[in-house]
């Protein structure tokens, strides 16, 4: 690749070493800026409010983390709302992976009347903004009796245009027609082809879509804020926002502890899938 060529060339030039150090210094500065808010949250969550309000500001972690955690758990049902978030994000991810990959397989590899029209419709749906759907969705959910329950979050998100489009692009290249032909000659029906031929090949694509969906659902805020009308049964993001709304000007240490702890599951998922995620992220943009 070009990078090895570049290294060789760079090594030949005088002063390139110093420039390399300058470059890395600038990049490290950027990393520090990216990481700083997390560090700041750690500092805040380990101090009492009076320490936080004192000047000069604390720049090193303190010792009051356990107290902040205790008062956090006293003020919101942290694990209950975390369970709700896991339930929503987990179910949606599972459903999206299944429905989207199934539909994508059809769009990528089969011909049928009306296909083009349906696909154009799919792309159009992609563009419809959420606000246009918010009120009627709320009304429909209320009629169905789903307002206040996690069903209101899971069902509408169970399949989406982005996932179908993305998986279709992935499948077009990854699944070879010869494989499908061979499996059909062996007598495999459509579902078997999907399960035994298509899915194993596109596993990396599924991993990306899965991580992407999970994180998006975990972080979703606007719709849960509206749809979850029972303040005792909400997702983690809504619980955090309630905490900030009621205690945000008085008990910063506790609120910050909540913000920090809410990031932990996300960071774990990211640590597992970072490589996959970043590798595939740009595919839609540069194709």
């Amino acid at each position: 690749m070009a990078s090895t060529q570049e290294t060789r060339r760079a090594k030949g030039i005088d002063g390139s070493r110093r420039r390399g150090i300058g470059l890395h210094a600038a990049l490290v500065l950027g990393v520090l800026l990216s990481a700083f808010p997390f560090y700041w949250a750690v500092i805040m969550s380990t101090h009492t409010s009076s320490e936080i309000f004192s000047y000069p500001p604390k720049l090193l972690p303190g010792t009051h983390f356990p107290e902040n955690v205790r008062s956090l758990f006293d003020n919101i049902d942290f694990f209950g709302s975390m369970f709700n978030s896991l339930l929503v994000a987990g179910s949606v991810t599972f459903l999206v992976l299944f429905f989207d990959s199934l539909a994508a397989f059809v769009f990528a590899k089969f011909e049928f009347p009306g296909k083009r029209l349906l696909f154009v419709l799919l792309m159009f749906i992609f563009m419809v903004p959420a606000q246009l759907q918010a009120i009627p969705q709320f009304v429909i959910m209320a009629k169905l009796g789903w307002i206040g329950s996690m069903t209101a979050l899971i069902v509408p998100a169970a399949a989406n245009a982005f996932g179908i489009f993305w998986m279709r692009q992935y499948m077009k290249g990854a699944i070879h027609d010869e494989l499908l032909d061979a499996s059909r000659i062996d007598g495999a029906n459509f579902l078997r082809q999907y399960w035994h031929v298509a899915l194993p090949v596109v596993r990396p694509g599924l991993a990306f879509l899965g991580i992407f969906t999970f994180m998006g659902q975990w972080n979703d805020y606007a719709w849960p804020l509206i749809a979850l009308t029972n303040p005792d049964n909400v997702t983690l993001q809504v619980a955090l926002s309630q905490l900030n709304g009621t205690h945000g000007t008085t008990d910063y240490g506790m609120v910050m502890t909540g913000a920090l702890l809410a990031l932990v599951p996300l960071l774990i998922v990211f640590a597992i899938g970072a490589r996959q995620m970043i590798g595939d992220l740009a595919k839609g943009a540069i194709k």
């Binding site: 009120i135 009627p136 606007a222």
Partner: protein, 320 residues
């Protein structure tokens, strides 16, 4: 935010598909329709019907409980004369501009640096991407404390170098800058990675040729890198426009306890009330569903118009 697909992509019908001689009729294809049906059914229930219904609603007066009352075009007429809506458009665009231009600049610089730094490239990419995966709620809470008037780090820094404190979340520009800073922080790394992917598609022969012709790094960047990056730049700009103009969570969480009349009020003087915040306020605080629907269509129009303008600007620059 979702990565939108490349815009110039056309939904093409593939020719080389493994079909046997097509038998006519639905029976032959029923399993294919069944396989794609979940999405379309969901879309029908929670997408198409809602959009149609919101159009219908916008011609009515409705508080969500009582009976609907025909209002004709009066909601839209009111929207056009509603100075609060217009000022929310202005607020949104100012915040968008304050966030997007520094973000694109920083992302481009970062991407160019990453492209030339050979060691630790993957490590850097992970670190830069981290802000983007964290929840807006948690980050807005954290940024709220960084910009706090009394104990915020920004003010402590200003104080340390001899400036006066600024009530960031209490002044019109302070609010906008705080929101924009949050957005810039969250999206710079994401876009840098997209730019980096774009940079890696530029053929190295082009750089080689430029070097032979004696072009310096700055000239190379403006004459080769930037023109080659136009599609990626367009992608980033359009995505930033569509998402940035619909910002809601950042101002809502950041400013929810700076005012006690509504959690959607956008802070003192409504300085951080974006279009979508205004929509939520009208709809779910005032229970004015009819007007809310009209506001939603107004937002849709603004976003579409603004995206087209941005697109045109980047495209035209390319033709020169």
């Amino acid at each position: 935010m979702a990565t939108l697909p490349a815009l110039e992509k056309r939904p093409a019908v593939v020719a080389d598909v493994p079909v046997t001689r097509p038998r006519q009729g639905f029976r032959k294809y029923w399993h294919l329709y069944a396989a794609i049906s979940p999405f379309y059914l969901l879309f029908l229930c929670f997408g198409l019907i809602p959009v149609g219904f919101s159009l219908y609603l916008s011609f009515h007066r409705w508080d969500g409980l009582g009976s609907m009352e025909w209002a004709g075009l009066s909601q839209y007429r009111y929207l056009l004369s509603d100075s609060e809506f217009w000022s929310s458009i202005g607020t949104t665009i100012v915040i968008w501009a304050l966030a997007t231009f520094p973000m694109i600049f920083l992302a481009m610089v970062t991407a160019v640096m990453l492209n030339s730094a050979v060691r630790f490239k993957n490590l850097y990419r992970v670190a830069y991407f981290l802000p983007n995966v964290t929840s807006v709620v948690a980050i807005a809470i954290i940024f709220g404390s960084v910009f706090s008037t009394n104990f915020g780090l920004v003010n402590a820094f200003l104080q340390a170098i001899g400036f006066d404190q600024i009530a960031w979340l209490n002044t019109p520009w302070g609010i906008k800058i705080a929101i924009a800073t949050l957005m810039t922080w969250q999206w710079t790394g994401y876009n840098a990675i997209i730019f980096l992917a774009g940079l890696q598609t530029v053929p190295s022969e082009l750089y080689e040729a430029a070097r032979m012709d004696g072009a310096g790094p700055v000239q190379t960047f403006f004459r080769i890198t930037l023109p080659m990056m136009r599609p990626v730049l367009l992608f980033v700009l359009v995505v930033s426009t569509v998402t940035g103009l619909q910002s809601f969570s950042e101002p809502q969480v950041l400013l929810q306890n700076t005012s006690n009349d509504s959690t959607f009020s956008g802070g003192p003087g409504h300085a951080g009330r974006t279009m979508v915040l205004y929509f939520f306020q009208q709809t779910f605080d005032n229970n004015d569903f009819g007007y809310g629907a009209a506001v939603a269509w107004g937002i849709f129009l603004v976003v579409v118009l603004f995206s087209i303008i941005n697109w045109r600007l980047v495209q035209r620059r390319g033709e020169e």
